[in-house]
């Protein structure tokens, strides 16, 4: 198997999950990623939570998930020599990836303006919280902040419930950066031109809900009486039973929930009524065809009836009855179910790994499958500074004596 990003050198300088994960994605496809750990730098925000309560584990799984396939260099960025080393590494890189703000980058002599002057072909990728531009461009890179601004939190739950933080913005940001970096690499391959690539947690969160927000923006083109307040408003949460299409919704069973979704509901309506043992529904004038089923009052009533019908049996029993049908139901699973799910296993979405210290462990893996250049796990997370010697020799042509001196001065650790 070949590696798509084989000769690409990346320097990762940041503390956010987005920066770590995006550079992991690049490393998965063969890039050489040097994670620069800043001595005495800020602790990695959300990972603090990872050491407590249910998150506690001997195995530092966050490190292995976020920093797989990377090299680590630890520099003392308080010392001038440390800053200089960092700049030299950045100048030797193809891709510089960071979530530090303008001020911090200026202080390190690493602004895009400076670096691109020395190395115009560099691809300089920045992750911010709320965007490169605008009055709040320097907010700390925290996904919850971006999610709060995205506007979807109040409408995720049922009415009268607290707004819900879904999580996942950082993964989307990581994906966006990786996508942007590879696009910029394609451009550079053709033209020799580098550039700056900007992504933000707000952009990632807004991307995620783009269809919904687009629908909100589209409402200004609707005649005024189409928006019935409290039911159709994209600013308010919606009752589950008010869902537009009663055969596309979540329903409770007597143990777990199911999510049902059918295309062509008229085609399957007869079979459905038989399967749920509610034959009487089939010709009920409120529900006998798709159009009638979608009328507001009818769909509420149908949803109430289906709640009762589905709660008569367990999800296992329903799935058995549904075997072989062309319209389907899915169990709303928990992580316990998915980690041993056949589809997850057959597709390698979870990797079984032999950890040198902890034996058999499982890692959530890169979900992009490529027949010739698949993502590959070559190594687990490095320990801080593990590759100081290697990288300084390889990238900067230092000798081991040079590195010894730098270690003595505490510029690199160890």
């Amino acid at each position: 198997m070949s590696k798509a990003l084989e000769e690409v050198r990346v320097v990762a300088l940041g503390t956010s999950v987005a920066t770590s994960l995006t550079t992991a994605y690049l490393a998965d496809f063969g890039a050489e990623v040097v994670k620069v750990e800043m001595l005495g730098g800020e602790c990695t925000g959300g990972l603090e939570d990872a050491k407590a309560g249910p998150y506690r584990s001997e195995w530092n799984y966050w490190a292995d998930f976020l920093d797989r396939n990377k090299e680590s260099v630890t520099l003392d960025l308080v010392q001038e020599e440390g800053k200089e080393l960092l700049r030299k590494l950045a100048e030797k890189s193809d891709v510089f990836c960071t979530d530090l703000n303008d001020e911090a980058l200026e202080a390190l002599g690493l602004s895009y303006g400076l670096i691109s002057e020395i190395k115009p072909e560099i691809i300089y990728a920045v992750c911010s919280c709320l965007g490169r531009h605008g009055p709040d461009k320097d907010m700390p890179v925290v996904d919850e902040l971006a999610a709060a601004r995205t506007g979807v939190m109040p409408i995720l739950p049922q009415p009268e419930q607290p707004p819900v933080y879904y999580g996942g913005g950082e993964v989307i940001a990581a994906l966006s950066i990786a996508y942007g970096v590879v696009a910029a690499l394609c451009h550079r391959d053709r033209t020799g031109e580098g550039q700056r690539v900007d992504v933000s947690l707000l952009g990632a969160n807004v991307y995620w809900v783009a269809y919904l927000f687009q629908a909100y923006l589209g409402t200004c083109f609707l005649p005024p009486d189409s928006l019935v307040e409290g039911i159709f408003s994209p600013l308010e949460p919606m009752w589950r039973r008010d869902g537009a299409q009663p055969l596309s919704n979540v329903y409770p069973t007597n143990d777990k929930w199911i999510f049902m979704g059918f295309p062509h509901t008229d085609l399957y309506w007869h079979d459905f009524c038989q399967t749920v043992e509610a034959e009487w529904l089939e010709h009920d004038p409120r529900f006998e065809n798709h159009t009638k089923r979608c009328i507001l009052e009818n769909r509420r009533q149908l949803a109430e009836i289906l709640d009762e019908v589905f709660t008569k049996r367990s999800v296992g029993e329903w799935l058995e009855r549904w075997e072989g049908k062309r319209y389907r139901i899915d169990c709303v699973q928990s992580p316990k179910d998915i980690v041993d799910d056949e589809q997850a296993r057959d597709n390698g979405y979870i990797l079984d790994v032999d950890h040198p210290t902890y034996g058999k462990v499982r890692l959530l893996w890169n979900p992009v499958q490529c027949s010739k250049t698949p993502p590959v796990l070559s190594s687990l997370a490095p320990y801080p500074g593990q590759h100081n010697l290697e990288v300084l020799v390889d990238w900067l042509g230092y000798t081991s004596d040079d590195v010894y001196l730098l270690r003595k001065k505490g510029v690199v650790v160890p």
Partner: protein, 401 residues
């Protein structure tokens, strides 16, 4: 200005959201994207509503998913239709599809067939549950794969499972597909080799759920298999709180750093050294007591007042906005996530933009409207050398519109 993918041709055999948005990303980067639709058109053209919000006259669902494309209406079930497609395959770089592998095989559009015609082809396939496994041929709505992924158990205990929102699963998978396409494209530019790229709704959903799935894989702790109340938040400084008007979000992961200042901002100085709350570990153990206390305090003033007070103490906090707030948020105006476009029918509209900003080769929306089969004749004549006689015959036989 030329886009990054100028000169790259993408064949788009996609429907609804996941597939179309994947190839739209490539079009945004400047590729020529030819959407091949059945004679009835992509079903998305008839979309009536989004989350019970009626579509009205402007089918933005179809338009923002299919911007920057050309359209050919071809009946691929007929030999002559497939002939057209195969001729195009020979002259294209990337094929993007979200039809099921079974449907693709029936139409002679599986990877084996396509790569025989054009070994350099990058074949990008988006599915519900992954390239392998017993469900590899099953179609899926994104919420079905989402339900399976273990992610929907959010919200207060006992509440219905929460789907992240209309087409959220689709749109994320679309970006994974576009990313995979670019990886393969770069590889091909350097080696001449094409390949097959896959991403699925299920795989993408699981990745989004890393924050829950990876800890569960490591600890097997039951905690991750249940819904949890905000009243028991493990870190009360990273939690939502109701105020007199709007809800706010305290977003301080590193709670030890901010605890003293929070106490000052809320005039709760006596709590600062209270052994129940003085460090992160203690606050986790006594979370319900602390959340209840904070609930009581936050309820006394408005969100704006709390924001002002908390900002004085450098706390990380935000109001919890709705879409109306987002629409007027200067961060949205100044960054390209949603952009203004001069729509030929509706005038100035705001439409989904780009998740990435490029300084030298910005993305652009060149056209939003796409009529069914708008470019069939143009492409048949100019690219494939069909004569007008041949075109008439194809129309008579209902191979094309």
């Amino acid at each position: 200005m030329n886009g990054i993918l100028q000169g790259i041709r993408v064949l788009d055999i996609t429907v609804w959201a996941m597939g179309p948005v994947a190839s739209a990303h490539l079009g945004d980067l400047g590729a020529e994207v030819i959407k091949i639709e059945p004679l009835m058109g992509d079903g998305a053209r008839g979309m009536l509503s989004t989350r019970s919000i009626p579509m009205g006259e402007w089918n933005h669902y179809f338009e923002h998913g299919n911007r920057n494309k050309k359209s050919m209406a071809i009946d691929l079930a007929q030999d002559k239709g497939r002939e057209i497609l195969h001729s195009l395959v020979a002259k294209s770089d990337i094929l993007v599809t979200n039809l099921t592998p079974g449907a693709l095989r029936k139409l002679n559009m599986d990877y084996e067939t396509i790569s025989r015609i054009n070994p350099k082809m990058i074949y990008v396939s988006g599915t519900g549950y992954g390239r392998y496994g017993p469900m590899r041929d099953m179609p899926a709505y994104d919420f079905q794969a989402w339900a399976r992924s273990g992610l929907m158990l959010k919200g207060e205990p006992g509440q219905p499972p929460i789907y992240a929102g209309f087409a959220t699963g689709d749109i994320i998978t679309a970006l994974f597909l576009a990313f995979g396409a670019l990886i393969a494209l770069r590889h091909r530019e350097r080696t001449g080799m094409g390949q097959e790229v896959n991403a699925s709704l299920l795989g993408s959903a699981m990745q989004i759920g890393a924050g829950v799935l990876q800890p569960y894989l490591a600890t097997a702790d039951d905690y991750f298999t249940r819904q949890h109340s905000r009243k028991d938040a493990l870190n009360p400084l990273c939690n939502v709180y109701p105020t007199k008007d709007k809800w706010i979000f305290l977003c301080m992961h590193d709670s030890d750093r901010f605890w003293a200042n929070l106490c000052k901002a809320l005039a709760l100085e006596e709590l600062e050294h209270d052994p129940r709350f003085s460090c992160a570990e203690a606050r986790m153990r006594n979370a319900s007591a602390l959340v209840a206390t904070l609930d009581g305090v936050f309820a006394t003033r408005s969100a704006a007042e709390w924001l002002e007070e908390c900002n004085r103490f450098d706390l990380i906090i935000s109001p919890i906005n709705n879409f109306a707030d987002l629409a007027s948020d200067p961060q949205l105006q100044e960054n390209p996530y949603f952009v203004n476009f001069d729509h030929p029918r509706f005038g100035e509209v705001r439409v989904r933009g780009f998740p990435v900003e490029f300084s030298k080769t910005p993305c652009s929306i060149r056209n939003l409207i796409l009529e069914l089969g708008q470019h069939t004749e143009e492409i048949l004549t100019e690219e494939l050398g069909y004569t007008w006689d041949q075109i008439t015959q194809l129309k008579d036989a209902r191979v094309i519109l």
